[in-house]
């Protein structure tokens, strides 16, 4: 009897933790998102669905912009991160850990500081643009800072390790004999990559994609520091509604809309790529 209960007892702290710090707050937030009132009179439960329609009416533009930025940043991170992971896993030989460390080293510096340093780098007259302008490669009024590309690049840069590490982990564990087998069967290097290596590494890309897409979509630091008038992301809106306007119901409603959109996106993504394989590979 006792033996049967043991796993449940062991799981208990985990469940208690989740219940106390996830389920209760979420329930509280759902309830809060349906209240009306203001900070002076207090917020009263009126099951006011209007908060959701108001949130969507006012902020759908920022919501779609955030999803678009998040997606773009994720794709860029894959484009940069995959080759890097591939190279470290297969070509770096005994220096693998050194290269991984080098890759991670910049990320020991505070997130905000790294973002702010982009501001200096990308400044109109700064070391990059200023030089290119001086030698006539760019028109003098060319600017990157305070535009959408600056925000997307900032996001892709800041979340790159979350893309590289899962892909690296999958590639590193891959059995090299399958590639040799592919060559033995007259596959070209490209064919071997497309039909053998890539499918095996997809779970890593999936995991990396999630770990990049979710935080980038909800991020607000990059848009605040690197963005301009047209680049406000949904995270800034939530922050303003909550901390500045103290309009808790609207802030909660936007949060749930964002969460719902992200969940729908992730489930369809998981469907398309197949999550069982992710589990399979992680279990090995």
């Amino acid at each position: 009897m006792r033996r049967k209960l043991t796993p449940y007892l062991l799981a208990l702290p985990g469940w208690a933790w989740l219940a106390l710090f996830f389920i209760v707050p979420i329930a509280g937030m759902v309830s809060l998102s349906l209240t009306s009132g203001n900070i002076i009179t207090g917020f009263h439960q009126t099951f006011n669905i209007g908060n959701y329609t108001e949130a969507l009416n006012l902020y759908s533009e920022q919501l779609f912009r955030s999803l678009f930025y998040g997606l773009s940043a994720t794709l860029i991170a894959i484009a940069i991160g995959y080759p890097a992971a591939y190279w470290i896993a297969f070509k770096a030989g005994k220096h693998k850990s050194t290269y991984l460390l080098l890759l991670l080293l910049p990320f020991f510096v505070s997130f905000v500081l790294r973002t702010i340093s982009w501001k200096f780098t990308l400044s109109d007259q700064g070391i990059v643009l200023g030089t290119l302008k001086n030698i006539g490669l760019l028109p003098t009024d060319f600017a990157v800072l305070n535009t959408a590309p600056a925000v997307v690049l900032g996001l892709a840069y800041n979340f790159l390790p979350f893309m590289v590490l899962p892909i690296y982990a999958v590639l590193e564990r891959m059995d090299h004999r399958v590639v040799e087998a592919a060559h033995d069967l007259y596959a070209s290097r490209l064919q071997a990559f497309l039909r053998v290596v890539l499918p095996i590494s997809l779970p890593g890309v999936f995991a990396g994609g999630l770990m990049t897409f979710i935080p980038t979509t909800a991020d607000y630091v990059n848009a605040t520091v690197l963005g301009g008038p047209e680049t406000t992301m949904i995270g800034s809106i939530i922050q303003t509604q909550y901390l500045v306007n103290n309009d808790y119901p609207i802030a909660a409603a936007i949060t749930f809309v964002l969460m719902a959109v992200l969940l729908i996106g992730i489930f369809s993504y998981a469907r398309a790529l197949g999550t069982e394989r992710v589990m399979e590979v992680q279990a090995k």
Binding site: A16, A19, L20, I23, V24, A27, G28, V30, S31, L32, T35, G37, N38, I39, I40, T41, G42, F43, H44, Q45, E61, Q62, K119, F120, S123, D124, Q125, G126, D141, A143, L145, N146, T224, V225, G227, G228, P229, E230, T232, S236, I237, Q239, T240, Y242, L243, V244, N245, N246, D247, Y248
Partner: protein, 406 residues
């Protein structure tokens, strides 16, 4: 570390009675049911000064939250305070943005919990009006504040947010005007309308704060912010929207416009007087600061003590100490914002007489600077912030956030 004391106390003292424990154990199960109640009224009953101060004792420690760069790096005035009184000050540069800082404290103050700060700096504006309306701030016992009563400038007593300074003690004031970089702007800037000039397309910086940007829109329309109506806000917002739609605005800055202005990313921008003065003094730049002809706003940062402060007596002493003219002068010499103690100007002149060379020149410039000691004529063009009734903030801020956060 002082911030750990509430935690320590929490661990070493029995703070919960049995009934509390029962309530707490039921909390998780009742989570769903409970959460349906919403958030009840956030206000505290106002306390009379005598009641509040009765039985309050000095603790020997206090935590003070202020803006970054709002005291010299050596914290000289605070060291002198500790020498004079034995009270240790844990000084934190935690106020990066008044709205966000106040928003962060809001739930703790509503629950009547300690915020971890025994005193902090806010700005006369929406958040402070809200804190006053909700009764979160302790009334200052002016009978124990001899320096404050003797030295506070008369103009400050007559402010509209806290008449008579019953809850707040001004720390410093500044002007929100226009700064420009003459390296790029080849003509003299004199008016707010210059910020709408298509010649500066993509090179104009504006502030993201709803109150700051509202003021400039209102002044451009010839409206006094302090007495503006909702209709005026809409009109001002239309002007600001047009400025944005025409691609004139490069970015809406919270407070980090100085570097872009120096680098040339923006050529002219809304700016705070002291920031520009400091940048010119420390980086040797030649940035210009102007009080535009349509007018500008004067804002005042004030020190206040939350009712949940754990060291109100110590805080009160520090506030009063900062009103000693010699201390106020020292503070002003570093922060270069307008001091609430008029006597400061004379003290700085005296300091200049005693100094020599570059230091002397610097101090004389400071004492004579219209950015730090505005002239009567300039004062006449300075307005107070829009006064928004507590509970009405959303209708005000939403109008302007629709522009800065679209």
């Amino acid at each position: 570390m002082r911030n750990t004391t509430p935690l320590l106390r929490g661990m070493t003292q029995a703070r919960y009675g049995r009934r509390d424990m029962l309530r707490f154990s039921g909390l998780t199960a009742a989570g769903l049911a409970l959460s349906a109640c919403g958030v009840s009224g956030q206000g505290q009953k106002p306390v009379a000064a005598d009641d509040f101060w009765q039985g309050k004792k000095e603790t020997g420690n206090l935590t003070f939250a202020n803006w970054p760069l709002y005291i010299d790096p050596e914290r000289t005035p605070l060291k002198k305070f500790t020498e004079a009184t034995g009270i240790k000050v844990d000084y934190r540069e935690d106020v990066q943005d008044v709205a966000a800082f106040a928003g962060k404290l809001q739930p703790q103050l509503a629950a009547h919990d300690s915020t971890g700060y025994d005193m902090f700096v806010l700005t006369y504006g929406i958040e402070l009006a809200r804190f006053l309306a909700l009764g979160y701030l302790a009334p200052l016992d002016q009978s124990r504040m001899p320096n404050f009563t003797a030295n506070l400038g008369e103009a400050y007593r007559q402010n509209s947010f806290d008449p008579g300074c019953r809850f707040t003690a001004p720390y410093a004031s500044g002007i929100t005007g226009i700064a420009y970089n003459p390296k790029y702007v080849k003509r003299e800037i004199t008016s707010i309308a210059d910020l709408w000039d298509p010649a500066f397309e993509g090179k104009v910086g504006m502030m993201s704060d709803a109150q700051e940007i509202a003021n400039f829109g209102l002044l451009l329309n010839g409206v006094d912010p302090a007495t503006s109506t909702e209709k005026d806000w809409q009109d001002a917002a239309a002007k600001l929207q047009q400025q944005r739609d025409d691609g004139i605005v490069r970015a809406y800055y919270a407070q980090d416009y100085v570097q872009p202005l120096t680098n040339g990313d923006v050529w002219l921008t809304m700016a705070w007087s002291g920031d520009i003065y400091q940048q010119n003094a420390s980086a040797g730049t030649d940035l210009e600061f102007v009080v535009p002809k349509e007018g500008a706003t004067i804002w005042t940062d004030v020190m206040c003590i939350p009712t949940t402060s754990e060291a109100p007596v110590d805080s009160l002493k520090l506030i009063d100490f900062l009103y000693r003219p010699d201390i106020a002068a020292e503070l002003t010499e570093y922060i270069t914002y307008i001091p609430p103690v008029p006597e400061t100007q004379n003290v700085i002149r005296e300091h200049a007489q005693q100094a020599s060379g570059a230091k002397r020149k610097e101090l004389l410039e400071l004492a004579g600077s219209p950015m730090v000691f505005p002239t009567e004529e300039e004062y006449s063009r300075l307005h107070n912030y829009v006064s928004v009734k507590p509970g009405k903030e959303s209708s005000f801020t939403n109008v302007f956030h629709a522009i800065t956060q679209a």
